[in-house]
Structures are given as structure tokens and as C-alpha cells.
């Protein structure tokens, strides 16, 4: 596998190479997403007439460097899970491009993409729904090995699965048990072991701790961080709605609102210098574990509700709820703009301010 990756990297290393010259990502970029769109059709009636679209993801772009953890946050229905599912090609994106290991994968046929699937693993949110109740824990974890024919003998298979169990802190003696015999945290460990089985370079963690107890959340997050330290270049996309969890694990955080990324930056910068009005409101909703501060701190409460993604507002989708909106926000879609190193924001007001400063 490493050999293959090296060859690919070398191929792409030369920008003059005609086939990959379109927006060649830098060498250490493992994943690049460009203008990703996922519209789900709404159909009605016997003939499945299309009456509209849910614009779950509406133009998302970002890059992830090898070994990095990108946190993806936003409230329910903002499209963060859909982004993850498009990258892992559980959904076929409506539009946009995805480069994984310098290869454009968004339009690959399933047949061509299948061998790549083991390099992109997914950890699901629900530790109950994501494990087949009629399969033993061992065969759940070993499934990628079977699917991609990664082992030659039964003995090797057992050894690999036992190794994966140990890696995630489960007793290999539990291999023959069924999912319902495990607790939520243990089930999530099984899910993580399964994700690791294919020896992936990118793991999409889709709210892996949201369904767990707070005490167990920490265990799982530490496990994920330990696993990354113990490997070379394992990359995570960590999807969550809890900012404090994401802050702990991420190298960079992308904040999403209604199918778009509104701000990407490092956790330190995000907490100390949030720029987008939505990010600021989101941050003010994070609880502080100190009752005195919690009681007195200032909170930004947004008015109204998240608009429907079937019929999103024109211009900046946040304008209707934004305390700083101007008439221009209703008509112009803001683009992600670099405001500082490693800090991009999609807000017209920021762009205005920048222009003023220049003048």
C-alpha cells in the first residue's frame, strides 16, 4: 500500500503532468474538496415527479493535509454528515470534485472506486445501528479484511482481528460475542476497530461520541487521538455538533451553516478571534463548567429558526438571522476569504472591512 501511495505521490509531484495539472494540490494534501454539492430530490406521486431539492450541501470547499484532524461543526441539518458521506461515496455527490491522494474520486465508477474504499474508513454515530446485530464482534471487525482480501489464511485473519481488538482496548476473548452484549462505548470501539481494519489513511468520524455518555466520550476521543499518534499520517475528519469536543481533537475547525462552510481556522484562533457572526453565536452557546461564569457570561441568541434547505435564503444564507446583515447580504453569496494565515471566513462584512482597511 505504501508503495502504491509513493508512486501516486511521485506522479502528482510533477505539476507539468497534464492529467493532474488541474489545480494540483500540494504534496502533503491528502484530501481536497472543491465546490461539493449534494442535492436530494423531493419526489411526489406515483410517477416520482421531482418537485424540489433539499440542498444539503451547497458548495463546500476545503483541503486536509496528511496527518491533520479537521473538525466539522454545525447544528443539526447543516449538511456536515452529508459532506462526510459524499467523501466516502456513500452518497454520489450532485456536483463538485473530490481529490483523495491526488486522485479525482467524485466521478469514479463504483467498480474503480471499490479498491480505494479501504483507505477511506467511516466511524458512524450510532453504535447500536452501525453494527449488524446478527454478526459476532470479531466478524464485524474482520469484514474489511474479507472484502478486500487482505489476509491469506484463517489464522492470519484471526491474528489481525485480535490485534485490532487489542488496539482499541477490547479483550480479544470477546470476539465471539454479539453486539447486544456490549455497552455503548465498547460498541463504538468495535466500530473503530472495523474502521482501522482496512489500514485507512483517512477516517471520517461521523459524530462518533454524540450517542455516548460524557464519561465515555472522553475515553473514545482519547482512543482516537492515541491511534493517530501511534500511526504515520492517519488523517481524521471529525464531524460533531459539540464545539468543545471538536476543539480538543482538531487541528483545524470548519464551521458549517445550511450546507456551506462559513469559517475555517485553528481551534485557538476560532476561540480567540471568531469572525463570522454565526461562529460567534455558536461559541457563545458552549457551556462553561463554572457556575459563576456560566451565570453571568454574555450569550448571543439568534433570532428565528434555521431556514429550510429546500428553499434556502438568497445571498448569504445567514442574512435573515444575522445581527450585522446589510442589504448586500441578501443578494451576494459570500466566498471564503483568507483573513489571516489559516483563517478563512465567508462573510461580506469582513470583505468590506478589508477593502476599507486597504483604502
Amino acid at each position: 500500500m505504501n508503495e502504491a501511495r509513493a508512486t501516486e505521490t511521485r506522479l502528482v509531484g510533477r505539476p507539468q503532468d497534464a492529467e493532474v495539472s488541474v489545480a494540483v494540490p500540494a504534496n502533503d494534501v491528502i484530501l481536497k474538496v472543491e465546490d461539493l454539492r449534494m442535492y436530494f430530490p423531493i419526489t411526489r406521486g406515483l410517477l416520482k415527479r421531482k418537485v424540489g431539492e433539499v440542498k444539503a450541501v451547497d458548495g463546500v470547499s476545503f483541503t486536509i493535509r496528511r496527518g491533520e484532524t479537521l473538525g466539522l461543526v454545525g447544528e443539526s441539518g447543516c449538511g456536515k454528515t452529508t459532506v462526510g458521506r459524499c467523501i466516502s461515496r456513500i452518497y454520489q455527490p450532485t456536483d463538485g470534485r473530490i481529490w483523495f491522494e491526488h486522485r479525482e474520486i467524485s466521478k469514479l465508477a463504483e467498480k474503480e472506486f471499490r479498491p480505494l474504499r479501504r483507505h477511506i474508513a467511516v466511524i458512524f454515530q450510532d453504535p447500536y445501528g452501525s453494527l449488524d446485530p446478527r454478526q459476532t464482534a470479531g466478524s464485524i471487525v474482520g469484514e474489511p479484511l474479507e472484502i478486500h482480501k487482505m489476509v491469506r489464511s484463517k489464522a492470519e485473519y484471526r491474528e489481525r482481528v485480535a490485534g485490532l481488538f487489542a488496539k482499541v482496548g477490547l479483550d480479544p476473548a470477546l470476539m465471539s460475542r454479539y453486539p447486544h452484549e456490549f455497552s455503548g462505548g465498547q460498541r463504538q470501539r468495535i466500530g473503530i476497530a472495523r474502521a482501522l481494519a482496512g489500514d485507512p489513511s483517512l477516517i471520517i468520524c461521523d459524530e462518533p461520541v454524540s450517542a455516548l455518555d460524557v464519561s465515555i466520550q472522553a475515553q473514545i476521543i482519547n482512543l482516537l487521538m492515541d491511534l493517530k499518534e501511534g500511526s504515520s499520517g492517519l488523517t481524521y475528519i471529525f464531524i460533531a455538533h459539540d464545539l468543545s469536543v471538536v476543539k480538543h481533537i482538531s487541528d483545524r475547525i470548519a464551521v458549517m451553516y445550511l450546507g456551506r462552510v462559513v469559517e475555517i481556522t485553528t481551534p485557538a484562533e476560532l476561540y480567540s478571534n471568531p469572525i463570522h457572526p454565526y461562529t460567534r453565536a455558536l461559541l457563545s452557546a458552549v457551556c462553561v463548567p463554572d457556575p459563576d461564569i456560566e451565570a453571568t457570561r454574555e450569550r448571543i441568541v439568534l433570532e428565528g429558526e434555521v431556514p429550510s434547505p429546500v428553499n434556502p435564503p438568497s445571498g448569504c444564507t445567514f442574512h435573515a438571522r444575522c445581527p450585522e446583515a446589510t442589504p448586500a447580504c441578501k443578494t451576494t453569496v459570500p466566498k471564503l476569504t483568507m483573513v489571516a494565515e489559516d483563517h478563512e471566513v465567508a462573510c461580506l462584512r469582513v470583505a468590506e472591512a478589508a477593502v476599507k482597511e486597504e483604502q
Partner: protein, 312 residues
């Protein structure tokens, strides 16, 4: 049975917990064995026990028919026609002098062969079609389900009658006709189950891992979706035996030398006043067996239904 229910709650055997690496989240005690829970609920009802007993007797009679029967069920002897029950002919003889009791015993064979044969053919074909329709969706689903809708447009017995009339009498044709007539029930059930199982995250995980559709269907959807079919199979057994009796009663089921309870009921009908046992004995057999199968089906449904867990 009593010792089963006692053991249910104390069974905690299984490998000891070994602390491994980081601490486990919670002690894992082996929960109550699913199989024992199933048996306990299943045999809780007296009618289910009765149904199972009837089934066992029926199977034993069918297998050992030559040893149980007192006479050759096919031998005509006009000199002994229409005898009343006696120590030699326990249930008397029919209009051709054949021993009614022996014919009843052999009739159990026919009932079971038709019942199990039909259910086996229809459930296997129905499950495959339902699985394909539900999992692949689109035009595959449209074609399969529209054909099933068309089949369902006819009442089961009328359709079986039609098919049996076209195919001709005989045990194989009865099985084929009844299989086609009952196929939509299995297909629709399996299709619905597949659609609901398909929505689980573990099926999505299959796709993310790169599993092929066939593998996902056979290894993950089928094991999670076949239980309702199991219940349907048991209750269908009764229906199919009843339908076979109906076809035989109308004379387009089992061909004459063959023995079937339905045709026996029809034959005895002419002598209802003088020799009521000729019709009533086979009719009673049909009734008891169908009732028994339905009870077993009900018991199975209750024992397997996760919604009733904890209630029973």
C-alpha cells in the same frame, strides 16, 4: 419446562472478564440466552403445546404410515363397500370398500408433502424476489412488485384453481399452483423487511467498506429480515393444507388413486346420512391440523416479536 425458566435468569457463564489495556466501560454479563427466552415464551401457551403435539403426531403418522395403517388404502373390494365402523375397519369403508382409517393415515402424507413442498418452494422464491426488489429498487422493484400485485388481484383459491385446472391434477402440479398463488405474500413481506433493514447504518457501513451488493444482501439483509418469513411459513402451512383440501374436494387436486383428505370428504358427501364418518373424519383431520399450524404460527410470532419482549 420449569427448570428452563429457573435457569433463564441465572445463566452468566461465559469467559471471565479480563481487564485489557484500558478499563472496559462496564462489566459485560452474558444476557439471557435468546434461544431460552424464545422457548420459554413459545411453550408458555397451552394451545401452542397442543399445536406442536399435533404436528409431531402428524409427522410421525406420515412417516410410518405403512406400519400404522391397518389395510392397504388403495385396494378396492366391492364386497366390503360402505361398512360401518367395526373392530376390523375402525372407521368403516368407503363406497369402493377401502378402509377409511388407512386412507386417513396416508392422507396425512399428502397433506404434509403438499404443505411443506409448497411452503418451501414459495418461501425460497418469494424471499429471493423480495430481497432483489427491496434492495435494488428502481425498475427491478417495479417489475417484480407489479407482477405480485397482479397475482394478488385474484383470491388465492381462485388463482390456485385456475392454475391447477391449466396444469392438470397431480401432487406436483398442486404444489406448483399453490406456490404461485401464495408467492406474493412472501415477496411482499420480504420486500418490506428488506426496505426497512436497508435503512440501517450497518448496511450503509457495508457500502462504505466496499462490499458488493450480493454480499450485503446475503450476509446482512437476509439474516436480519427472514424472521417474519419464518412466522408466515408456519401460518401458511395451515392455509396451504386447507387450499389443497379445497382443490381435492373440487376434484382438481390429487389424482384419484392418490389419497387426500379433501377428496375423501367429497367422496363421503354422498353418504352423509348413512355413513357420516366418511366425510367427517377427514374433515376433522383437516380442521385439527390447520388449527394446530395456526396456533404454532401465532406462538412463533409472539415469541419472535421484539415488541412483545418483556410483556410475555
Amino acid at each position: 419446562m420449569s427448570d428452563v425458566s429457573e435457569q433463564v435468569f441465572v445463566d452468566q457463564s461465559g469467559p471471565d472478564q479480563v481487564p485489557y489495556g484500558r478499563p472496559l466501560d462496564a462489566e459485560v454479563a452474558r444476557p439471557v440466552s435468546e434461544w431460552r427466552r424464545f422457548l420459554r415464551i413459545f411453550f408458555q401457551r397451552k394451545l401452542v403445546v397442543f399445536g406442536v403435539a399435533v404436528l409431531v403426531v402428524l409427522v410421525v403418522v406420515a412417516i410410518f404410515a405403512p406400519w400404522i395403517a391397518t389395510h392397504d388404502p388403495y385396494r378396492n373390494d366391492m364386497s366390503k363397500a360402505l361398512r360401518s365402523p367395526s373392530s376390523e375397519h375402525w372407521l368403516g369403508t368407503d363406497s369402493l370398500g377401502r378402509d377409511t382409517f388407512s386412507r386417513l393415515v396416508y392422507g396425512a402424507r399428502t397433506a404434509l408433502i403438499v404443505g411443506f413442498g409448497t411452503v418451501a418452494v414459495a418461501s425460497v422464491v418469494g424471499m429471493i424476489l423480495g430481497l432483489l426488489a427491496g434492495f435494488l429498487g428502481g425498475w427491478v422493484n417495479a417489475i417484480i412488485m407489479r407482477v405480485m400485485d397482479a397475482l394478488m388481484g385474484f383470491p388465492m383459491l381462485v388463482l390456485a384453481l385456475l392454475l391447477a385446472a391449466v396444469l392438470g391434477a397431480g401432487i406436483h402440479n398442486v404444489i406448483i399452483a399453490l406456490s404461485i398463488a401464495t408467492l406474493p405474500a412472501y415477496t411482499r413481506l420480504m420486500c418490506g423487511e428488506t426496505l426497512s433493514v436497508k435503512e440501517n447504518e450497518y448496511i450503509m457501513a457495508q457500502r462504505a467498506m466496499g462490499a458488493k451488493s450480493l454480499r450485503t444482501m446475503v450476509k446482512h439483509i437476509l439474516p436480519n429480515a427472514f424472521q417474519p418469513t419464518l412466522v408466515l411459513v408456519t401460518s401458511m402451512l395451515g392455509n396451504v393444507i386447507l387450499a389443497e383440501a379445497g382443490l381435492s374436494f373440487l376434484g382438481i387436486g390429487i389424482k384419484p388413486p392418490g389419497v387426500a383428505w379433501g377428496s375423501m370428504t367429497a367422496d363421503g358427501y354422498r353418504f352423509l346420512e348413512a355413513h357420516p364418518q366418511l366425510s367427517f373424519a377427514p374433515a376433522l383431520c383437516i380442521m385439527v391440523v390447520v388449527f394446530a399450524f395456526n396456533m404454532v404460527g401465532d406462538g412463533l410470532r409472539d415469541a419472535l416479536d421484539p415488541k412483545l419482549r418483556g410483556v410475555l
